[in-house]
Each structure stands twice: as structure tokens, then as C-alpha cells.
Symmetry: C2
Subunit: 176 residues, 2 copies
DNA sequence: TGGATATGTCAATCATGCTGACCAAACCCC
DNA sequence: GGGGTTTGGTCAGCATGATTGACATATCCA
């Protein structure tokens, strides 16, 4: 089963002189990949730890987060934000309604809609999860400084698609 | 099944005068949560699209990335980086070896070890996935500017635990 | 009235993680 | 040299969260 030498792939060709520059560029991109992988993991770890004691997962957290962020959101809008199918959402959302974390209300203008909001219980859990992430983010922000935070925001916005950028703007605008 | 009004949870109390400050703080943290969610998704979307045509997933990409990043890495070290169990890794890694994306070589000093490297085929796929992510990252970096990139790096480093920070330093140091 | 829309649900499947148990080979120390 | 430890592989079973396809219901709107 074991082979002899690995036989690594060749580096891509580059004209003399530009080689160092291209190489530095590649190193920067590779670093970005590593930072996003480990950074995102650090960001999700604290809520994950709390959730597993409640037999919930990251999917539940996302529902709590975005429903809390936009109370009265429709199921369709939530599906659009999460980017999953209604079947996938249903399996997470319906138990959360049954367990009194989320409530549904029929839409005023369109009675087909089910407007979602957090209950007191749901809001309390969301706040606990929020606090655990707040700690991590505050520490990172404090260590990096305000200018770095602004740079972080600019880069993260650039990483997402146009649709997500508009979605974030909508979430920010709706700030109560 | 539908209840009447949502009954939103109360905002946490805060003494007069500090209220605005605390509120702004919370808005900043909430924004960070949104940015990380949508940004990470934008970052992973392009490789995911390629991978699904090959019947592979994100787990395969992570193996390709970190083995490519550290050729000759041991199975144990890879497990440590990925933070998963050997059973989970095995199910992804063994098919990749069978399909000639990854090779194993017995360690020179310790023959129990299986040193992992990418084959030509594996390196080619890894580069294709890298290129798709490179596009997204380059665009975000270009739009945000060099100072923002430095800030992004500082914040992402702060988000991860000490162990991950050391791991990244090790990966950077091993730059060929 | 009838088609489109919003939501829910059943059934099957897939990807990726987990635990527990166990095995084999190699290493290392007494 | 023998015995315990380490490294890696593997089997079985399970959970989560995603998918598709098909279908049901209630409501909206032209």
C-alpha cells in the first residue's frame, strides 16, 4: 500500500524577476485561507459548546440569531438568508417552536405568511450564545485595535457576494 | 398552532448615559457575527461548487489544503490541525489515497508513521480549488486596500485560540 | 374560479462528524 | 528480550444537517 517517494507537483512557471512577487502573493492568499479556517472555528467554538448541552447545533443558533436580528421575519426570507431548503429548516424550526424558543404569527396583510419571533426563552438562549461569542470578538477587537477592526469589516464584506452584502445592509438598517 | 403577539424579550438594563455606548457596542458585535457568517460562506462557495462535480466535499478540500501546505505531514499532525477523529479522517483520506490524490510514505525515523503528500493529480486539484478561492480573496483585498488587509489579519488571528495561532505560525515558517 | 404563492410534511439519501472496540506494527525502555 | 506505549487502520452504529422529489393546504390575486 505504501509507495516510494511522494513525487510532488511542479511549481507553476513564472518569468524571471516576477517570480518573487508572485510567490509573495501566493503566500498571502494561503495565509488568508488558514486565517479564515482557524478564525471561523474560534468564532463558532464557544456557542457550539453551549448548544451541545441542549441537544442543539449550529443550525439552531443561526435560526435564533437571524430571527432575533429581524423579529417578524417570514419563513421565506429566513430561508433566503440561510441558503437552505425549507425541508432542512423545518426539521430545525419545528422543534424550536414546539419547545417554545420561537413563535409564529399569521401575517397581517398576507395570512399565508408565518412571521417568526423569539419567545422570552428563545431570546434568553440567544443572548447566552451571543455573550459567549461577544467575549471572543471583543478580545480580538481589543487586541487588534479600532483601525484593524475597520479593515476586518472591509475585507469580510468583500468576501461575500453582492446579495449577502445587501442582506447585511438590510439587517443593519433595521437596527431598532 | 399560531399564537397571538410575539412577546419579545426585554432589552438588558443599563444605567442612563452608558446606554448608547453599550448599544453601539452590541451593534458592532452583531455586525461581526453577520460578517463572519456571510463572509465565510462567500469564501467557501467557489471550491464547494467545483468539489460537488467530483463527488467530494469540504472535508476533502481541507485535506488537500493542509497536506499541500505541509508535505510529509503525519496522520496524527493532520488530525490535530483538522480537529477531528481518525475515523472521520479515515473515511475521507482512504478514498483519496485509493483515487491517487494523496500518497503515503513510511517515516524514515519512525516507520509507524505514514507521511502524507499530494500526488500530481492531487496537487492539480488543490491548485484548481486554490485558484477559485484566490479570486474571491484577491478581489476583497484589492477593494479593501493593504491597510485593511493588515487589520483583517490581526482580527482573524485574535479570533482563534492560542493553539491555532501557533499552528499558523508553524505553517508560515515552513514556507518553502 | 383558477392559477400562483407560502408553508408544511413525508420519504429517501448523502456528507460529515461522533463513540466504542479492537487490531497490527513499530518503538522504546527496563 | 519482553512488555507497555504509540501510530495508524478499521468495523459497527449513531447523530446532525444538508439534499431532492412529491404532495397537501391555505391563501392571494387576476
Amino acid at each position: 500500500m505504501l509507495t516510494k517517494p511522494p513525487g510532488m507537483a511542479a511549481m507553476p512557471e513564472a518569468p524571471r524577476g516576477t517570480r518573487d512577487l508572485l510567490f509573495l502573493r501566493e503566500a498571502e492568499i494561503r495565509l488568508a485561507q488558514d486565517l479564515l479556517f482557524f478564525g471561523y472555528r474560534g468564532f463558532t467554538a464557544p456557542p457550539d459548546q453551549i448548544l451541545e448541552t441542549l441537544d442543539m447545533g449550529r443550525a439552531h443558533h443561526r435560526v435564533l440569531h437571524f430571527v432575533g436580528r429581524r423579529p417578524g421575519i417570514t419563513v421565506g426570507d429566513l430561508l433566503g438568508i440561510l441558503g437552505i431548503t425549507k425541508q432542512s429548516l423545518g426539521r430545525v424550526l419545528q422543534p424550536m417552536i414546539a419547545d417554545d424558543y420561537v413563535t409564529q404569527t399569521a401575517g397581517r396583510s398576507d395570512k399565508r405568511q408565518r412571521l417568526l419571533s423569539l419567545t422570552e426563552k428563545g431570546a434568553a438562549l440567544e443572548r447566552q450564545l451571543y455573550d459567549s461569542q461577544r467575549e471572543v470578538i471583543m478580545r480580538a477587537y481589543r487586541e487588534a485595535g479600532p483601525q484593524a477592526v475597520e479593515g476586518f469589516r472591509r475585507v469580510m464584506r468583500g468576501l461575500m457576494g453582492e446579495a449577502a452584502r445587501e442582506e447585511i445592509d438590510r439587517l443593519e438598517a433595521r437596527r431598532p
